[in-house]
Symmetry: C2
Subunit: 264 residues, 2 copies
DNA sequence: TACAATTTGTCCGTATGTATC
DNA sequence: TGATACATACGGACAAATTGT
C-alpha cells in the first residue's frame, strides 16, 4: 500500500484542452475527466511505468478508495477498465484481490484481433484488402518458417496440414485456416504472427464454408501438405512460392463469389 | 429500449468449462462469470452482431439494470468495460447517455499499438522482431504505393519526406503520420496500414532519437526523398528496392546500440 | 438569466459469495 | 468446521453536467 500514490487527486479536474480561445468547438469536448477515469489513468501509469511490477498485488478496493479519495464504487469502475485491458486480474476470496497481470502474447493477439474485428464490417475494409494483406505476409512467413523451423515445429506444421476434422467442424474449414496460423507462428516472430492472425480470424468468421465442392477442399489440403513438406525440407524459396500460389488459388476460390458474406 | 433483450439472465451462471472429471485443475479456473461481465458480453454481442447499430442510443443505466435484472452499479461496471474497448461512448446530461461508437480506424490503430506496447518490454518481442516485420511489410507497401498513388497521394508522400521530425501534432489520423505511415496509407489498403502502423508507433515511442549524428538523419531524409521520387515515378520495383535498402540501413542504425531503450 | 428535466457521476451502507487457512 | 479477508452485488440518495424552456 505504499506504491499507490494518488499524486494529484483533484476532484473535477479538467483534462486541459485549454480551449478558452476556441468558442467554436462544438464537438463534444470531454470537459471533465470522471474520477474513475482518473484513477484508472493513475494506476495504468504506475503499471506501465514499472512502479507496479507484474504479479504485484494492489491494495484492496477500500484501501484504494481512501488512497485516492474516492468511493469504492469508483475504484471498482476503474478496476474494470484496467481488467478489460488485461493490465490487472482480480480474484475473489482471501488471498484474492487485484494483481498486475503479466504480459501474455496469446492475450495480446486476441486483443489485436478483436480490435481489428470491429473494423471489418465497415465498407472501408473489404475481402480484397484482407487477401492482399495475406498475400503480402504469408509467403514470406513460409520462407522464414522453412529457414527456422525445428523438428517440433515441423511436426506441428505437418499435423496442421492434414486439417483435423472434429465434430464441430466436419468440413475441416477451421482446421485449414489454422494451418496458416501455424505457419505464422513458425516464423518465431511474434510480431509477424500478430499481424497475420487477425486476417485469418476474420476469414474464419466471415467466410461461408458451404457452396464449395469437396474436390476444391481436397486441392487445398494437397497444397497445405505440399507447403508443409517444403518447409520441412528447409527450402525457403520453394516454400515461399508454394504459399504464394496457394493463396492466389484461394483468392480465386473466395472471390468466385458466394463465399464472402457481409452478414456475420 | 426494445432491442436490448437479456435473453438468458441467469444469475450466477457458470461459464461451463465442464471440468467435473478434472479435479486436478489447480490454475485459477474462473468458475462463475460475474454479472457485470455477463451484461458486458450480452451488450457486446448485440453491438458486434449489428443488433445495435453505430450511433444507437442505449437505454439509460437504470433501464438497463431492470432489463438485465441487475443493479445500476453492475450495469455501470459493464458499461465501463465496453467504453474502454471503444464499443460505446458515454456522455452526461439530458441528451446524454451511452451510444454505440462508430468504428474508427485511428482508434483501432491506437488500441493495437497500446496492446503491443505491453509486450515490447518482454523478452518475447524484441526490436529485432519489429524490424523484421517492418522489412517484411514496407518494401511491398512501397511497391503497391508506386503502382497506385494518385497525384494527391504523391504530393502527400513528398511532403512527408521533407517533414520535420519530432514534431508533435496530436490532431487526427493523418496529422501524426511520418513518412513510413504515409507509404503504408498510400497502398490504399487499410489492413496493410493497420498492420504496419503499430510497428512504427512502437518504434517512435521506444526509440531514442538522440545519440546519432545529424549526418545520419540527413541520410535518412535523403533516402525518404529518394523513395518518394521512385513512388512518384510509378516505378514499383525501384520503390520496393529503395525501401528495402532504407530499412536495412535503419536496422543497422537502430541496432548499433544505444538507440533502443527499455524505459519508455 | 433563471429554472426544470434528464442522465451520468459519486457516495454510502449493507448483504452475499468465494477462496484460504 | 468455522473464521477471515477479499470481491461481488444491491438499493437508495444526492451531486454534477448538459440541454431545453
Amino acid at each position: 500500500m505504499d506504491k499507490v500514490l494518488p499524486v494529484v487527486t483533484l476532484r473535477g479536474a479538467v483534462d486541459d484542452d485549454s480551449q478558452p480561445p476556441e468558442p467554436t468547438a462544438r464537438l463534444r469536448v470531454q470537459r471533465v475527466r470522471p474520477a474513475y477515469a482518473q484513477v484508472a489513468d493513475e494506476l495504468r501509469a504506475q503499471i506501465l511505468g514499472g512502479a507496479l511490477p507484474a504479479g504485484e498485488r494492489l491494495p484492496n478496493e477500500a484501501e484504494l478508495g481512501t488512497a485516492f479519495g474516492v468511493s469504492r464504487s469508483t475504484v471498482r469502475e476503474a478496476l474494470r477498465v484496467l481488467a478489460s485491458q488485461h493490465l490487472i486480474e482480480t480474484t475473489r476470496g482471501v488471498r484474492g484481490g487485484s494483481f498486475v497481470a503479466a504480459p501474455d502474447p496469446a492475450r495480446v493477439v486476441e486483443d489485436v484481433g478483436s480490435a481489428l474485428g470491429v473494423l471489418v464490417m465497415t465498407p472501408q475494409l473489404g475481402i480484397h484488402d484482407l487477401l492482399e494483406a495475406r498475400l503480402l505476409l504469408e509467403p514470406t512467413a513460409a520462407r522464414l518458417a522453412a529457414q527456422r523451423a525445428d523438428a517440433e515445429t515441423v511436426a506441428a506444421i505437418r499435423a496442421a496440414a492434414v486439417a483435423p476434422r472434429d465434430e464441430r467442424d466436419p468440413s475441416g474449414f477451421v482446421g485449414r485456416i489454422d494451418f496458416h496460423t501455424t505457419i505464422l507462428m513458425a516464423t518465431g516472430n511474434l510480431m509477424i504472427t500478430m499481424m497475420g492472425q487477425p486476417v485469418n480470424d476474420v476469414l474464419r468468421t466471415r467466410l461461408r464454408r458451404d457452396g464449395v465442392e469437396r474436390g476444391e477442399w481436397d486441392k487445398v489440403d494437397a497444397c497445405h501438405r505440399d507447403i508443409a513438406e517444403r518447409v520441412a525440407a528447409g527450402d525457403p524459396a520453394a516454400a515461399e512460392e508454394a504459399m504464394r500460389e496457394h493463396i492466389v488459388t484461394l483468392r480465386g476460390l473466395y472471390e468466385r463469389d458466394g463465399l464472402w458474406t457481409d452478414e456475420p
